[in-house]
Structures are given as structure tokens and as C-alpha cells.
């Protein structure tokens, strides 16, 4: 029984990683209408920036804050240079560009910092906690804490602020929003910047657990994708729930179903997604809006 619980906790932990990146993906989509395949790689790059600043002697939390700020700028700049020019082009061209960004950021990290893993300091250093039969590490706790805080903050942003409302409208109906007087381009700039910031936050939170390397989030983006889809690509809460479900599901499947070894675990996640989509095409929490691609 204790193995089961431990597996569930382990699944929740890795699920939280997926959920955090899924949050960034969904936020980007909801505020700009674009699915950014490079979200994970940009997050890793930002994490490296934090690491580098810390390695140069900057106090840890200042380094993180600096990285978040830089990510905001980088996200906005990337939008301006590579996505905005394609405003009238087919969505597939935009997808292609984000794939190109994927290669760029991944290779850049590889080039500057090398392929070997680096240690990343814990956010909340200290011993693990015991909850009955289950051990909860500090890393796990900090991931959940930050994930929860971010979710609440984003939810409030979208549902209860003017900026959030404007972002949603701009992404859902850019032409109309422009007609109605919304500064659509500026809203998209903000959207990409904040999405990159969330990615950076995800990166610094999970790096202590996963170990910082250029490929740290290589497969994660696929899981995050699956999680976001499961939750219905429009729902922040759905992304988080989706991530946790995917994490727990694949962990349990990998442990208890012998045919599914470590390398096929991801197929479990995607198989579940397929089943869900066949039954509920807009995901568990999604509303039946059109998801463009």
C-alpha cells in the first residue's frame, strides 16, 4: 500500500512539472492564440540565466527575479521578431516558426553551457517531511506551492482584471478586438512576455528536482501538451488537473503494467488523451470553442 501511495505522490510530483509547463502553454494560447512549441526550451534557457547569475555571485532570489524579468523581455522580443510578422499567415507557418525557436533555444543552451547537467539550488532548502507513510521532499513541496500560487494569480488575472479580459478578447477575436479599439499587438506582446515568465518560473522550480540540462524539458513539452489537451486547451485549472492526472497515470501504469516499460510510459498518457477526446472533444474542462491549428 505504501508503494502505491509513494507512486501516487511521485506521479503527482512529476505531474506538477507537467502542469506548470502546461500552464504556460495554456496561458500563451489564451492570451495570444498561439501554441508555442518552444515554451519548454525557452523555460530551460531562462533557468540557465538564473543559474548563471547565481554562479556569478548574485544572491539566489535576486538571480531568480532577474531571470523572470529577462524572460518577460525575451518572450516579448521573440513575439515581436518572429510571430508578429506572421499575423496574416497560416497557422502552420506559425507552428513551424515555434519549432524553429525550439531548435534555436535548445542549441543555444547547449552551446553556451554545455550538455552536462548542473546542480540547481533548492528554493526551500531543508529536510523532507513525513506525512504518515509518505515522504514529501522539499522540492516537491515548493513545486506545488508555486504552482498553486501561479494558478491563482493567473486565474485572477484572466477573470477579474481589465488586462486579462482584453487579452482574452484579443486572442479569441483579434480582428474584432482591433475594431473595438483594443491595442491587440501590445496585448500579444504582454501575453508572450508573461507566458515566458511563467515558463521561467516553472523551470527554476523543477530544476532542483530534475537537474538542469539543455534537454531538461525536451519530453516535458509533449506531456504538458497532453495535459493541456486533457484539460481543454482553454482552461488553466484544466491544465493543472490534466498534468497531475497524466503524471499519476503514467507512473502507475509504468509500475503496475509490466508491458509498459519506462520508454512507453508516455504512450499511456497519449492513449488516455485519445480516449478522452473521443468522448469529450473539447477536453475535460474545456468549452466547445474552436481550437485553431
Amino acid at each position: 500500500m505504501s508503494l502505491f501511495l509513494q507512486q501516487v505522490v511521485g506521479g503527482l510530483t512529476i505531474g506538477a512539472v507537467y502542469a506548470f509547463l502546461a500552464l504556460a502553454l495554456v496561458f500563451c494560447f489564451r492570451s495570444t492564440g498561439v501554441v508555442n512549441f518552444a515554451q519548454g526550451e525557452m523555460a530551460v534557457f531562462s533557468t540557465y540565466l538564473a543559474w548563471q547569475m547565481h554562479a556569478w555571485g548574485v544572491p539566489f532570489f535576486l538571480a531568480i527575479a532577474g531571470s523572470l524579468g529577462l524572460s518577460l523581455a525575451i518572450g516579448a522580443a521573440v513575439y515581436w521578431a518572429t510571430i508578429r510578422p506572421l499575423a496574416n499567415a497560416s497557422h502552420l507557418a506559425v507552428v513551424g516558426v515555434t519549432v524553429g525557436l525550439f531548435f534555436c533555444f535548445n542549441s543555444l543552451a547547449q552551446l553556451v553551457w554545455g550538455g552536462l547537467g548542473k546542480d540547481f539550488p533548492q528554493i526551500l532548502p531543508g529536510p523532507s517531511w513525513r506525512l504518515g507513510p509518505v515522504v514529501i521532499g522539499r522540492d516537491t513541496a515548493s513545486i506545488f506551492l508555486l504552482l498553486g500560487l501561479t494558478l491563482v494569480a493567473l486565474y485572477v488575472f484572466f477573470e477579474h482584471t481589465r488586462l486579462g479580459l482584453g487579452s482574452r478578447a484579443a486572442a479569441a477575436a483579434p480582428v474584432q478586438s482591433r475594431q473595438a479599439g483594443l491595442p491587440v499587438q501590445r496585448l500579444f506582446l504582454l501575453g508572450w512576455g508573461v507566458a515566458a515568465l511563467i515558463g521561467a518560473l516553472a523551470g527554476v522550480t523543477v530544476a532542483p528536482e530534475l537537474g538542469l540540462s539543455p534537454d531538461m524539458m525536451l519530453l516535458t513539452v509533449i506531456y504538458a501538451f497532453a495535459a493541456a489537451t486533457l484539460g481543454g486547451f482553454n482552461s488553466l485549472v484544466g491544465a493543472v488537473v490534466g498534468g497531475l492526472v497524466v503524471g499519476v497515470g503514467e507512473n502507475l501504469a509504468g509500475t503496475y503494467i509490466p508491458a509498459i516499460g519506462g520508454d512507453l510510459k508516455v504512450s499511456v498518457a497519449l492513449f488516455v488523451i485519445l480516449l478522452v477526446l473521443l468522448v469529450r472533444p473539447s477536453g475535460l474542462f474545456g468549452r466547445p470553442e474552436a481550437v485553431r491549428l
Partner: protein
């Protein structure tokens, strides 16, 4: 000084020019209607005013200031609100959110709340359906929502693109009645392009007729409505 003066406006899409030197003006407090058949260039005219379509030549002067070439956001900020063809409501957002979007660039929170209450009174259906998704409203209700949303920006000039489109005659009658009331009670200046000649000429003060991208004739609306020759020649009525 006229509220809006347009002189020699040429505009179009890419290489094809739709408007060939269009001139008209609007006084504060007027309802002006621009009539014409499909393809005459009515929608293009409104879009050129709003900055949604590039104009190549001509002058657009609003409140004494030239506005040709401004971005749509800037035009809205100057006080021109555009209700596009097909309503342009944000279908996936609630009625209330639509109204809030109309007032998006305003920062006076209390006044915004007051305005919402005011328009909900003027169009009671909006209060009834406040939390409903706009896409679930009927055509007529969406049109009223679209107008209310445009009014939320407290515009000096309201542009309406074929507000009667897709609506039943009874609904059109009611809608135009409300518009006339709006103009009378609050002095809202309106520029309406329409295909439906009869009802709109009843409501307007002056009318222009657009034909193949040019202003063919103009005059007091009542005269146009009563002049059979004009109606037959230009409107096929």
C-alpha cells in the same frame, strides 16, 4: 464646424480601389444615412473612417483634427465607435464582458459602472441576459448589445454598418425606433450605412446615396424618401 468632414476620399483593398473620391459631412447631433446597393462601397467607407482600411487620398477631419491614417485604436480613442457588419459581438464572452470591452481603454471605473447601468436600462434585455454568452442571444439582441458596447466608449460619433441585416422587419422597426430615441434623448451623432432604404430614411435627418464608389446624390432624408425618381433611380425601390 462640422463634426466630421470627408473630402475626396479614395480607398480600397490592395490594388483595387473601391471608393473614388467620396465627400460628405456630418453635423453634431445628426443622424446621417448612406444608402446604396451591395458593393457600392458603404462598408468600405466606414472602414476607412475607422482606420481598418487604407485610404490612398483625401481628407478625413473629425472635430477639427485630421484622422486619416490613424490606427483603429487611436480612432476609437478620438471618439468614433464602429459597430461593424454582422454585429461584431464577442460571442464567447458574456453580455457584461462585452460591455466592459467597449469601455476598455477608459480608466474611470465608477463612471463605467454607471454607464453599464444606464445602458442596461435603455436596453433592458441586456440586464436580463447579463451573464449569458453573447453568442446565444438573438440577432436583434446582439445588435443592441453591439450598439451598447460601442456606446460604452462614450463616442462622439457612432458608426453603424447595416444594423438591419438579418433582422425581421418588426425587429428592425424597434431597433431604429430605439436609435432615434437615443439620438433625441442623448444627442448621439450617428452615421449609418444601410441597404434598407425605407425604414432608415424615416429615421434619419439627411441621406447620401453611394453608387459604384461615388456619392451620387444627397439631401434631406424626408425629401429622398418622398422623391420617387430618386428612389427608383438609385435604390430600385
Amino acid at each position: 464646424m462640422k463634426l466630421l468632414e470627408v473630402a475626396g476620399l479614395c480607398a480600397g483593398y490592395g490594388r483595387s480601389e473601391v471608393l473614388h473620391s467620396v465627400s460628405f459631412d456630418i453635423d453634431e447631433g445628426e443622424i446621417v444615412v448612406m444608402l446604396g446597393v451591395n458593393g457600392a462601397g458603404k462598408t468600405t467607407t466606414l472602414r476607412a473612417l475607422s482606420g481598418l482600411v487604407d485610404s490612398t487620398r483625401g481628407r478625413i477631419v473629425f472635430g477639427g483634427e485630421p484622422i486619416r491614417g490613424l490606427a483603429p485604436e487611436a480612432v476609437v480613442a478620438r471618439g468614433i465607435a464602429h459597430v461593424p457588419e454582422g454585429r461584431g459581438t464577442f460571442a464567447d464572452f458574456t453580455v457584461r464582458e462585452n460591455l466592459l470591452l467597449g469601455a476598455w481603454f477608459r480608466s474611470d471605473r465608477e463612471e463605467i459602472v454607471r454607464d453599464i447601468a444606464s445602458w442596461e436600462t435603455f436596453f433592458p434585455i441586456l440586464r436580463e441576459r447579463r451573464d449569458q454568452r453573447a453568442g446565444t442571444l438573438s440577432g436583434g439582441e446582439q445588435q443592441m448589445l453591439a450598439i451598447a458596447r460601442a456606446l460604452m466608449s462614450r463616442p462622439r460619433l457612432l458608426l453603424l454598418d447595416e444594423p438591419s441585416q438579418g433582422l425581421a422587419p418588426l425587429v428592425i422597426r424597434e431597433l431604429f425606433g430605439r436609435l432615434r430615441e437615443l439620438n433625441r434623448e442623448r444627442g448621439t451623432t450617428m452615421f449609418i450605412v444601410e441597404q434598407n432604404a425605407r425604414l432608415s430614411l424615416d429615421m434619419a435627418h439627411r441621406a447620401y446615396i453611394l453608387q459604384a464608389g461615388e456619392v451620387a446624390t444627397s439631401g434631406p432624408a424626408a425629401d429622398m424618401r418622398d422623391d420617387e425618381n430618386v428612389r427608383r433611380a438609385y435604390l430600385g425601390v
